[in-house]
Structures are given as C-alpha cells and as structure tokens.
C-alpha cells in the first residue's frame, strides 16, 4: 500500500508534521514582539515557512503532472539486508566501544565487515582488520593525541 504512494506526498506530509511541531515549539518558547523577539521567534517563523513550503510540495505531488516516482520505485533493487546489517553492526559497535575499548571493538568490527558484507578470504579479512586498526591507533591516538576509549573491561582488570 505505502510502496504505491508517491514519494513526494509522503515526504512532504512528514515535513509538514515536523514543521507543525517546530511552530508549536516556537510558540511554547515565546515568540515575543518584533521589537523584542523571544527565544521562539525564529523557530516559530521558520516552522511556519517550512509548513508553507511542505504544504506546497504536498499539493503539487497530488497534481496529475507531478513526479510519479513512488516509494517503491525509490527503493527498487536495493540490498536492504546489507544496509540494515551494516547499520546494526555500527550501532552494536558504538554500544560496546566504551566497554571493549577502541582496539578490540574496532578489530572485531572490521573483521566482520571484511568477512561478511562483501566476503573476503580469512587472510585478507584478518590482515585488513588488524592493519587498519593498528594504523588508525598509531596515527590518531599515538601521533595526533586523539582520545579514544581504552575499554572499561581492561581498566578494571
């Protein structure tokens, strides 16, 4: 059902919703007057402008001459599994980063990415993961003084 919907109709409706919320937030924060604009002044007017713009896109998308690209067409032939898988890996990596530390967490992440997204041999995956992590640590932590997590697991030990 949703795949058959025109892309512009959906996105402009979403933008209209966001714009309404911004306008409401502007009002809530106090718009003030033109001689003494409040904290919500710009939010309110930006929200209104965005609502007008997205409303126009919404109406245009319903016209017969509008761009007929549907939601389904925008996402045709996409390897959804790969995209979601990589995102899930990155979220998991960020979640364990403080606990496992940069070196361990990054080596594992890269090994999994090399081995599973566009599968490489074990040799390439292991060497790639270890070398990349090592070089990144050397450049960013050792030379440039970037603070990356050591890992609470190891600190406690």
């Amino acid at each position: 059902m949703i795949r058959g919907l025109r892309a512009d109709t959906l996105t402009s409706a979403l933008a209209l919703g966001i714009a309404s919320y911004i306008t409401y937030q502007g009002l809530d924060l106090e718009v003030g007057t033109t001689s003494n604009p409040g904290s919500g002044f710009i939010l309110f007017w930006t929200g209104l402008m965005m609502a007008a713009l997205s409303g126009t896109v919404f109406v245009q998308s319903l016209l017969p001459s509008a761009d007929r690209a549907t939601i389904g067409a925008c996402f045709a032939n996409i390897r959804w599994g790969k995209v979601l898988y990589v995102l899930a890996l990155l979220v998991a990596y960020t979640f364990v980063l403080a606990t496992l530390g940069f070196v361990v967490a990054t080596t594992i992440l890269l090994l999994i990415l090399f081995k599973t997204v566009e599968p490489q041999s074990w040799t390439v995956s292991v060497i790639g993961a270890v070398l990349t992590t090592g070089c990144a640590w050397l450049v960013f932590v050792h030379w440039l003084g970037t603070q990356l997590p050591v890992g609470s697991l190891f600190e406690a030990g």
Binding site: A7, D8, T11, A15, I22, Q25, L29, T33, T34, S35, N36, P37, G38, S39, G40, F41, I42, L43, T46, G47, M49, M50, L53, S54, T56, V57, Q60, C74, F75, N77, I78, R79, W80, K82, V83, V86, L87, L90, V91, Y93, T94, L97, T106, L109, L110, L113, F114, V117, E118, Q120, V124, G128, T132, T133, A136, F140, L144, T146, Q147, L148
Partner: protein, 501 residues
C-alpha cells in the same frame, strides 16, 4: 607595500617546520580524497577537524585549507582515468578527460589539469591577497542588518543551485536553521529543542551531522548495490602537454581563472558551479564546439582551472566577512571558532600572523600539489585499483573516529549514524544535504543578527530595505527565488544545478 610586509610575515609563519608539515599533510590528504571516489573534502575535513584541537590554530587551518584545494587537484585524476569524478567539482572533467584517456592521451589530460590548477590556484591567492584587505575595510561598516541580508542571499544562491526542486532545497534550509538553534539560546539562556538531554544543551555538533549526511550516507548508497568500478587500462606516459595543447588551453585557463575567482567570492557559489560554467563558456566560444565531449583539451583545462580559482576565492567571504560561502567554508568557520578565532573584518588586524600565514601557506601548498600531482600520478592510479569493498570499512572507521573524537562521547556517533540514515533517505527522495548544512552553520548567526537588527530598529523592518547593501542582497535573493517561475530561467537553473557536497 603593506601587502608585501604582511606577506613576508605570512611566509615566516608558513615556513615554520610544523606548519610546513601540516600544509603537506593537508594537500596530500586532499589529493588522496580527491582521487578516491566516495569520500569528499567535506567528509575528510570533518574527520580531521577534531585533530586540529591538539595543534596551533595556524597549523590546523593550514591543514584544513590544504585538504580543500588539494581535493580540487585530486578530483580530476578519477574523472580522467575512471570516468568517475573524485569530487563534485570534477564532474564536468569526465566528459573530455575520459575521452582523452580513451584516445591514449591520459598523460596530457592529467598534466594540463595539474598545470591549469596550479596557475589558477596561484592567481586566486594573488586575488585573495589584494582584495581581502579592501573588502575587510569595507565590511567593518556592516551592521546586523547587512549581515542578515547577506546570509539570506548566500543561502538563497545555494538553494537556487541545488539539484531538483527549489522548494525541497528551501525545506532543507529551514531544517538546517532549526537544527542550528538546538541548545541554549545565547540571548535568553533558554534551552531549545533539547528534550531534557544533557548532550543537546550545547547544541548539535557540526562534525557528526556532516559526517553522517556526506560520509555515512554515501557509504550506505554504495553498499545498497554492487559497485563495479572499471579502471581504464592505459599507460599514463608523457604528462607534459604538447605545444598545440598549450595553445588550445591558454585561453580557457585565463578565462577559467577569472570566472572561477569571481564565482568563488559569491556567497553560495563555488568550485562546482564555476567548473560547469567554464565548460559551457569554452564550448560556446570554441570555433569547433563539436570537439567537446570527444576529447577536447579545452574541456579539461577550463573547468579544472575554474574550480581551483573558485576554491581559493572562497576564502575571501569567510576571512573578511566571517560568512562561509559554501559547506566547506562552513567547516573551516567551525575550525576557526573551535580555536577561539572569529573570522571577519577584524581578523587581519587582530590575528595578522594567522591570516597571512594561511595565505602564504596556499602558495607553498600549490607548489607541493604540483609536485604531488605530476610525478606521483602513477601512485594515485595504483590507489584507484583498491576495490571499494576493501576501502569502505576503512572510510567507516574514519567517520566513527571523527565523530567520536569531537567530544569523546558515543552520543555523537549515534547522532552521525542517525544523520547517515537521514542523508541516505534524503538522497533517495531528492532532498539536498548542502542547504541543510550551510543553514545549520548560518542559523545561529542569522538569528542573532536578525534579533539584534530588530531590537536596534525597535521592531521596524524598513532598515532591511532602506540600507543599500541589505536591500541589494534581499532584492537579489527575491529575484533568484522567483526566477523559476520564468521557464527560460528554470531551464538555465536546471543546467547549472549541481551538488555542492
């Protein structure tokens, strides 16, 4: 005479070993990311921005500037050899550059691109050096009204040049302004859109947003389908163009330098638009326009010259007015602010060593780039052969390090991932990230100047249209926004529409 004295001061700063090292690092990284498709100067500068926290402002700005103009050089290599532009400003170089490579003339194409870039880059720095002090003296007279109107014009030009729908680009600019206002209101100290999250009190970080919208979104776009990159197998020999090549390219190089320089100064303009316009101009002026698209060296020399001139000129509005004309300069503005330096009319007076040091480093950087691009072209070609499936985990890792190291918290990495998904979806639905990012940076400045102007005028809007500079900016912005209503202007805009990112 003042200029010479100041330039000598600048060279004194730029020739300090640490600054030379960071200048080299900048142009090297710039060339590298220019060569590699999939990561542009915006993502690379965001990644390296946190690293500059640990070095002097001079070294940091010199390195980040080097990345920008270095990427303009590097971008032509992929365009000529692989028919894939390394970054957006080299899109047009693909047309004739790749055809030259197919005819066995990859060497002269690469050589002319490098030489043209060097000439334009150097001329742009001379222009910057001569024009910046005058503009800075003039800009001291700017009040909040002028600043507000100038920023509106800058945003409007960027929106006008965005691909596809102007309405969608304007929506993105609105979103950018709102995102820029997240955090504490600088006038009333009221928290805005923070949802009681401590991490949002200081506002959203520029780096996670840019890395997400430009870096992660690009990676997701590449992962969603198999990327088979073909390398055109050719021996790159004889980089020096022939006499005939020079004869054909002299005009395009001269015109490209002037065109790129003036377009680069305009807020919202930049390297991409100047390369497209240069190509169109050369084709129109040519006695044999039918050669264009089939390997005409003018089609390489003109655009490559123009994009480098524009890259150099883009520093003028940032350094003299404190207003970034494009997304890359917005990142540089972030770098200045992080180091406690406020770019603007007083920069030259208050921080002469920094200002002239950066200008002088560009001369040195341009020479370094010529050395990097001519003899090391073989190395860059080899690098192009690294498959994307090996590269993308590394690019992902750099994005994560960049986002995390801004404030050492995982929140910024989550934020980057969220904006990565948003950027990926935006791409699918035809929404541009560039207006969002520029508006995000300009949003707080826009608000401050508008509120100050209104308080000063006691709520009267007439100064916005009565003060000449402000009036010119607002009228120009209005004309641009209304121009799509005229079919001929709409057609012209579609031709010029490009992706600044």
């Amino acid at each position: 005479m003042d200029v010479i004295t100041n330039l000598l001061l600048g060279f004194g700063v730029a020739f300090q070993p640490i600054n030379l090292l960071f200048c080299f690092a900048g142009v090297f990284i710039g060339t590298l990311i220019g060569v590699l498709p999939g990561i542009g100067p915006v993502a690379a500068m965001s990644l390296l921005l946190p690293i500059t926290f640990n070095i002097t402002p001079e070294a940091g700005i010199i390195m980040l500037s080097g990345i920008y103009y270095g990427s303009m050089y590097g971008g032509s290599t992929t365009a000529i050899l692989v028919n894939i532009p390394g970054e957006a400003a080299s899109v047009i170089t693909c047309l004739d550059g790749y055809q030259m490579a197919r005819q066995g003339r990859a060497g002269p194409a690469l050589g002319m691109a490098a030489m043209g870039s060097f000439i334009a880059g150097t001329l742009a720095i001379v222009g910057l050096m001569l024009l910046a002090p005058t503009l800075a003296r003039f800009a001291v007279k700017f009040g909040p009204t002028e600043y507000f109107s100038l920023m509106v014009l800058g945003l409007t030009i960027l929106v006008w040049l965005s691909q596809g729908s102007i309405l969608k680009a304007l929506i993105m600019a609105c979103v950018g302004v709102v995102l820029g206002l997240v955090g504490i209101d600088s006038i009333t100290a009221m928290p805005r859109l923070t949802f009681n999250q401590l991490e949002l009190i200081d506002g959203l970080g520029l780096v996670p947003i840019v890395m997400g919208l430009f870096g992660i979104a690009e990676i997701l776009s590449n992962i969603e389908q198999r990327l088979d990159r073909q390398i055109f197998e050719t021996n790159v020999k004889g980089l020096l163009p022939t006499k005939e090549d020079w004869k054909r390219s002299a005009g395009p190089i001269a015109r490209g330098s002037v065109l790129g320089f003036f377009l680069g100064i305009l807020p919202g303009g930049g390297a991409v638009i100047s390369s497209f316009l240069s190509y169109a101009m050369e084709k129109r002026l040519s006695k044999t326009p039918e050669r264009f698209g089939k390997g005409a060296i003018e089609g390489v020399a003109g655009p490559e010259t123009a994009n480098n001139a524009a890259a150099g000129a883009g520093f003028i509005p940032l350094l003299t007015l404190g207003i970034p004309p494009n997304v890359v300069m917005a990142l540089l503005l972030g770098a200045f602010i992080v180091h406690g330096v406020q770019p603007g009319p007083l920069l030259m007076v208050q921080q002469p060593a920094l200002f002239w040091g950066v200008v002088a480093s560009m001369y040195i950087g341009n020479v370094m780039l010529l050395v990097l691009n001519m003899p090391l072209i073989g190395m860059w070609v080899q690098l192009l052969k690294v498959p994307y499936k090996i590269l993308f985990p590394m690019i992902l890792l750099f994005c994560i390090i960049g986002a995390y190291s801004v404030s050492n918290q995982a929140f910024d990495v989550y934020l980057m991932l969220a904006f990565g998904v948003i950027g990926w979806l935006m791409k699918k639905y035809g929404y541009e990230p560039a207006p969002l990012v520029l508006a995000f940076v300009l949003g707080p400045m826009l608000e401050n100047n508008l509120r100050k102007a209104l308080i000063l005028s006691q709520g009267d809007f007439t100064p916005f249209v009565m003060r000449p500079i402000s009036a010119v900016c607002l009228v120009a912005a209005a004309l641009l926004l209304l121009s799509p209503l005229l079919p001929s202007f709409q057609k012209r805009r579609q031709e010029l529409a490009t992706d600044e990112g």
